[in-house]
């Protein structure tokens, strides 16, 4: 049985192995052993922290298979900009109207903004063999939001996730981002992957405001291939894009300042983890209880610490006040009969 749980110190080594195979520039999880160790320590401290207002906490989760091996990881930061303003391009629409000439059309402009600074940010989602990942990928991604629903005071009312933009492989095997070529390169004078490596994928560094355009970028002035790349997700980002869209996230309003990748965002009220999750009492399942027709659910602990989540096939829960869990699921969630859990449809 797969379980999503808060990261532990013992996970550093397997996470380092996991990160080694991730595509550079696409996944935002930390790469080096030191960076991973820092992230894990920070997460453990964050889970332990008493939080009044969301600030610099960041919570890291892992997806563990039945055999105890790690197959994925995902994080959520309480606020995107705790270490510095978080920058994104806002997709503005400027109406061009001339009554005299009977002209009316709209022009898109990208404005460097810090609107997302106070929002909670989903990041570092990575699943091994993502091409074959099934419901477990959704479990990993959405468990973060169930944790947020269980502990809303730790998070902002708004959430977002920035996904990798499209790149093309050029002859030497390097990834080339058409959006970066048209925009960032003119200001940074360096390759996309080089700058991503230098700033470790961050979007909250002051050098961004030093280098990126202060004035709106009129989209029609960009080359066609850069325009086409705006808001388009990298092929390795399609899975998280789909999962988050199903959860209730919306693209289009913001894009990444470097590769033009989509930024999905939502108010918590439009997320299913908040609006459609059920708080039920867990009971021990009798054999056959969960067989037959029904639906797939995510089940997560409702307590403040030792967060855990699993998948469950169950008869419809919407009209119930308890959920029947197998002994194995109870063990995976580390709960006893009668404890409250959060359930949401997959």
């Amino acid at each position: 049985m797969f379980v999503v749980r808060a990261v532990q110190f013992a996970d550093v080594a397997p996470l380092t192995a996991l990160a080694a195979v991730a595509t550079p520039g696409v996944h935002t999880l930390p790469k080096t052993h030191e960076a991973i160790q820092r992230a894990v320590e920070h997460s453990i401290a964050s889970f332990a922290a008493q939080v009044d207002l969301p600030s610099e906490e960041s919570y890291m989760f892992v997806l563990e298979a039945g055999d105890g091996s790690l197959c994925g990881t995902a994080s959520i930061a309480a606020t995107a900009g705790s270490q510095g303003t978080f920058f994104a391009f806002r997709n503005d629409v400027i109406q061009q109207v001339s009554r005299d000439l009977n002209i009316s059309h709209s022009v898109h402009a990208l404005t460097l903004c810090s609107d997302l600074t106070g929002h909670s940010q989903l990041s570092s989602f990575y699943v091994r063999d993502w091409g074959e990942a099934g419901h477990e990928a959704a479990l990993l991604s959405r468990a973060r939001l169930l944790f947020a629903a269980a502990a809303p005071h730790r998070f902002s009312d708004r959430f977002f996730a920035s996904l990798a933009g499209v790149t093309e492989t050029v002859n030497d095997g390097e990834a080339r981002s058409p959006f970066w070529e048209a925009l960032g390169r003119k200001f940074f004078h360096m390759d996309f992957l080089e700058v991503e490596r230098l700033i470790e994928g961050a979007r909250n560094r002051s050098l961004i405001i030093e280098l990126m355009p202060h004035y709106p970028v009129y989209v029609p002035l960009l080359p066609g291939e850069a325009q086409a790349a705006m808001g388009q997700v990298h092929s390795e980002g399609e899975l998280p894009f789909r999962i988050l869209s199903d959860e209730g996230f919306e693209p289009d309003e913001f894009i990444d300042i470097f590769d033009g990748g989509p930024i999905l965002q939502a108010h918590k009220n439009s997320l299913r983890a908040f609006s459609s999750s059920l708080r039920l009492r867990a009971v021990e399942a009798a054999s056959g209880d969960n067989d037959g027709a029904g639906a797939n659910y995510l089940v997560a602990t409702a307590r403040g610490e030792n967060f855990r989540a699993v998948l469950l096939h169950s008869p419809l829960l919407e009209q119930r006040d308890e959920v029947a869990l197998s002994a194995e699921a109870m063990r995976a969630l580390d709960i006893a009969s009668g404890d409250p859990v959060l359930c949401v449809r997959l």
């Binding site: 400027i94 061009q96 050098l207 280098l211 709106p216 009129y218």
Partner: protein, 342 residues
């Protein structure tokens, strides 16, 4: 003999004829009878001083007296942008630098501006192709500077001249195609027509409000910024010799340069001088060092080129030349060497 003179009411037909030869890119000289008729009316009122100085538009024509033909035209607007906003792009610089990454980017930007509001403008210069030889072009263009030197109180502090921008051989503008086109969604010619018809409010409504980085434009459009049309290069040189210079303002449609100068620093203001006329065979003729001579009458301003030299405040001209200036012996005239290096 050629004379440049203040336009008169009955010059409209000749002017229309000339305007028909101009072609695109010159917003102030379209062959449209109603428009040009109106312009001639304003010009006559300007020379007659029946309208306020800031509304004036002094239109001059060059006449081949022997043939009675109108062969050139030029104008000075006393102030631009006071009724309809006058737009230019100002080329600015933004530096983006990061010590941490050791990056220093110096970026040129285009700012939409009305900075030149209130400036006097040299405009609408056109010389018939058959007359583009010798010093005719200089006589036509520089006659205006003599007018300003004679009547500086009628003009603003600054003088500008918009030069036709770079166009492709087919008449299209690479700058427009890469920029204006996206915001106006119309062809260069049509936008140009609308401007000349005075429908300029559409510029304010449709132009991008924020500064633009020139680097975003395709190379062909970047190269056109501040560059004159091939046929306009001599006119640019000529004005630069008179003390005008390019200071980073360009046309918003074709990115042609705007030349500018303080009126008080024009060569015509510094170097022109008054002289009294003598009717005599020119005694100080020096071939190859032509002189511009203008009468001092606002309403019937006339300029000719000659080879005489003023001596001790007096200038000898032939009876025919004096007649061309509508002057008589003993009258004061304003003189200026045609070329700046004399």
């Amino acid at each position: 003999m050629l004379v440049v003179r203040a336009i008169q009411q009955n010059d409209l037909d000749g002017l229309l004829d000339l305007a028909g030869r101009v072609g695109g890119g010159m917003t102030t000289l379209k062959a449209d009878r109603a428009m040009l008729g109106n312009r001639v009316d304003v010009a006559c009122a300007s020379f007659a001083e029946t309208i306020p100085p800031e509304q004036r538009d002094y239109l001059f024509v060059m006449e081949d007296v022997a043939k009675g033909a109108m062969v050139g035209v030029c104008a000075i607007k006393s102030a631009v942008g006071l009724e309809e906003p006058f737009y230019n792009y100002r080329i600015g610089t933004l530096v983006h630098s990061s010590k941490e990454l050791n990056v220093f980017s110096r970026m040129e930007t285009l700012y939409l501006s009305n900075d030149l509001t209130g400036c006097s403008e040299l405009c609408s210069l056109f010389l018939h192709p058959d007359y583009r030889s010798g010093n005719n072009g200089k006589l036509l263009s520089k006659s205006r500077l003599l007018f300003i030197a004679q009547f500086p109180h009628l003009f603003g502090e600054k003088l500008i001249a918009e030069m036709r921008g770079f166009l492709r051989p087919d008449g299209s503008s690479p700058f427009w195609d890469s920029l204006g086109q996206h915001f106006f969604q119309m062809e260069f010619e049509r936008a140009d027509d609308l401007t000349s018809l005075g429908k300029k409010s559409f510029i304010a409504e449709l132009m991008p409000r924020h500064p633009l980085y020139i680097d975003y434009l395709p190379q062909e459009a970047q190269d056109a910024v501040g560059k004159v049309h091939v046929a306009t290069a001599p006119a640019r040189r000529l004005l630069e010799q008179e003390g005008m210079y390019y200071e980073g303002y360009v046309d918003i449609f074709d990115a042609g340069p705007v030349l500018q100068a303080r009126v008080s620093e024009l060569r015509a203001l510094r170097d022109s001088a008054l002289a009294l006329l003598d009717a005599a065979a020119p005694r100080h003729a020096e071939a190859g060092k032509p002189l511009l001579v203008a009468n001092t009458q606002l309403g019937d301003f006339r300029v000719i080129a000659c080879d005489s030299r003023p001596t001790q405040g007096r200038l000898s001209l032939s009876a025919e030349q004096i007649e061309l200036l509508h002057a008589k012996a003993g009258d004061a005239v304003r003189t200026l060497s045609m070329n700046s290096n004399q």
